[in-house]
Symmetry: C2
Subunit: 417 residues, 2 copies
């Protein structure tokens, strides 16, 4: 099955918002074996929408539209669809009642426009939107499918997940498809490719590997395609096969794999700390609190994260973390001695079992021939004994250096647990 | 002038990357008075590119393509363009020499593919890429303009800024256009709209106001359109007019405006601290170091930012910030008493002149009937005397609450300076 994604509305054409919807939709369609052959954006006028739909339908089996359905813009997209598919609008009491209940639940008065939003094309299958007021619409016409969804990301995601994708899978069963994603940290794409070359070339032809790189992290996604059409049985067999390959892959590069599927590094580190009953804290210089911020984005992190000292100035490194002045004078603030002393000092200052310290030169200024911009020292101290310190040399970009130092710092904690 | 933006490549169609390029390009074109009438994405095959270009050119005066020019994919886009515009490829010694010099500068061996990248269509105007290896190309054909740029964001931005936009402005001078953006914090779009209603309705017809909202901040952009065609003189007159309106607007809502154009709140606060010779630090609970992180994203922030105490646990609020146990027992950690004590304690603990403290319930758990999720107390203490504390009630989303608390916290510092 092929799909074309069509976004409707000026917000995207004037660059006021970035189109994250169609990336999300492409990913979800792809994961189910559907192929997105084109994307386009048009203005919310009758002519532009009509021409956009024609162009999309010439390319693909399914046209999925987003946007142009808000209470103030309702008319144009809906009326254009009615004209195209030769349909009238009818009042849907059930839709009206659901929206009324929604407004009652959130405790706001119901606007007049709700009546309009319950007027929907009689020839469309109505897709119930349980998280907003604009319904989705599904038209079958001349062998093609046309789907219209609201543009608000969480409403679109709800309707895709609950209504659209299951229907598309029932309509176009296709081959079974299974994914497993392993999450790595601390190694680049090409370094990983070298290490797993033998694994990759030994993969059977129906299982493929994709590299999905981000700054400091690479996701490795195995996708298996079964023979015949999708069934519970064929999926189970394929799942076993892909899972077995994932286990082999994990065995080749065990130390850089930190998790699976949609986990984050901070979630994994948090879970490890909690499972071991350990309290954690950070002593940060160049990262300026970024690691503490990452750790506390996780709900429930107060169970294992006690706090942090951000010692941007050398005075504070001495006063709050007990770093000896001698160390700073002799080795400098970006040194093995400094991060060791910071991490050990943080154990007591924060009353924690494990502490991470980071000190580096984020840039753009402050580099020297000895310690260029991007030089970062970090250490993990464990109350049960032992301090591990490592040095990294990242790049010249301040924001990237802060991010990489944070990610590699969390990875150092993970390796020490 | 109208433009259509065409992205080439499968990365976008499979949802592997989010298309931030076309939002950037739309914004920059719009700011210059050019109108983007459509956007589309196609796969990097000859057929898809050819059909994509035809469809785009039917809509607009200018087609701007991005992507499909990397050293490994070089051929298909370039060859398709050659076929479409009936052009051969010729070797460009100057391009080759420039790329060779580029590799020498970054200290890497030059790959074989560079020779290929110096083979460029003889009928194209070559746009010199000083930040990468793929040249831009500009074709004039049958009254339309076709521009091909690399897809790497900073290379695209370089070529647009240095080569494409100035040429388009020379070719389509259009009316003079001038923008002024005022940055606000701490008030919602509808609250601002009410306060500036009289200003807005008194605007002359050739000056328009746009609201560009983000979480906790709203940018107000005034755009003036002059009569006749663009000239240095007509621009200067228009600039004066728009500037005068911006001054009037600033006078209506002075206390929520923190800056102009592309500044960030953390830059503005940093500059104010530096100008006053003040040292600053934070005592954070629910924001978990986010404010310290924001402050230290600014290059040179060590001149005024000394550090932070992230006291996620109550123990640390007492030990590191000297918050009295009594206060925590009687009022709780999320209270006026707690944030006042935290801010005053931070003055000494961090040795700073001004300190910001924040304590709240970020969620999703931890709310009570008295203090629902989203309740955040914050205070600013100034060594020269005075503590100001305020309470906010944000929403139910953890990430948004952390962000809003950080932004409103920085704004509280700004107001106290």
């Amino acid at each position: 099955m092929t799909a074309h994604l069509l976004t409707i509305g000026d917000e995207i054409l004037i660059g006021q918002i970035i189109d994250t919807n169609s990336a999300w939709m492409s990913r979800e369609l792809n994961l189910r074996g559907f192929r997105v052959v084109g994307k386009s954006s048009v203005s919310d006028t009758r002519e532009a929408i009509t021409e956009g739909i024609r162009h999309a339908a010439a390319q693909a089996d399914v046209v999925i539209m987003t946007g142009g359905l808000g209470p103030t813009k309702d008319d144009v997209t809906k009326k254009t669809l009615c004209t195209l598919f030769d349909s009238g609008l009818v009042f849907h009491q059930d839709v009206y009642d659901r929206i009324a209940a929604y407004f009652e639940k959130i405790g706001r008065p119901m606007p007049e426009s709700v009546r309009e939003q319950a007027m929907l094309p009689e020839r469309a299958l109505i897709l119930t939107n349980k998280v907003g007021t604009a319904s989705g619409m599904w038209f079958d016409s001349a062998g093609k499918i046309y789907i219209s969804l609201p543009g608000v990301p969480f409403e679109m995601e709800y309707l895709m997940t609950a209504e659209v994708l299951p229907r598309l899978q029932a309509r176009f069963p296709g081959r079974p498809i299974v994914h497993r994603t392993l999450l790595t940290v601390g190694a680049g794409e090409s370094a990983i490719a070298q290490r797993i070359e033998a694994f990759e070339s030994a993969l059977p032809p129906h299982i493929r590997l994709a590299y999905l790189p981000a700054l400091g992290q690479v996701r490795l996604r195995l996708t298996g395609w079964g023979a015949g059409t999708r069934s519970a049985e064929s999926l189970a067999v394929l799942e076993q096969e892909v899972e077995a390959q994932a286990a082999v892959l994990a065995g080749v590069i065990p130390e850089i794999i930190f998790g699976r599927e949609n986990e984050t590094l901070e979630q994994v580190v948090g879970r490890m700390l909690q499972a071991r009953g350990l309290q954690f804290g950070t002593a940060e210089s160049c990262t300026g609190g970024y690691v503490a911020h990452l750790m506390t984005t996780v709900p429930g992190s107060s169970a294992y994260f006690r706090g942090a000292v951000v010692a941007y100035s050398n005075d504070l490194k001495m006063q709050l973390l007990g770093v000896p002045e001698q160390t700073l004078l002799e080795q400098g603030a970006v040194s093995e001695g400094a991060v060791r002393a910071m991490a050990i000092g943080a154990l007591d200052a924060l009353g924690v079992d494990v502490a991470l310290s980071i000190s580096g030169i984020a840039g753009p200024d402050g580099g020297t021939p000895d310690k260029p911009v991007g030089t970062v020292w970090m250490a993990v101290a464990d109350r049960r004994g032992g301090v591990t310190a490592v040095k990294h040399i990242f790049g010249r970009d301040r924001a990237k250096n802060i991010h990489l130092a944070g990610v590699y710092g969390l990875d150092l904690v993970r390796k020490n647990l």
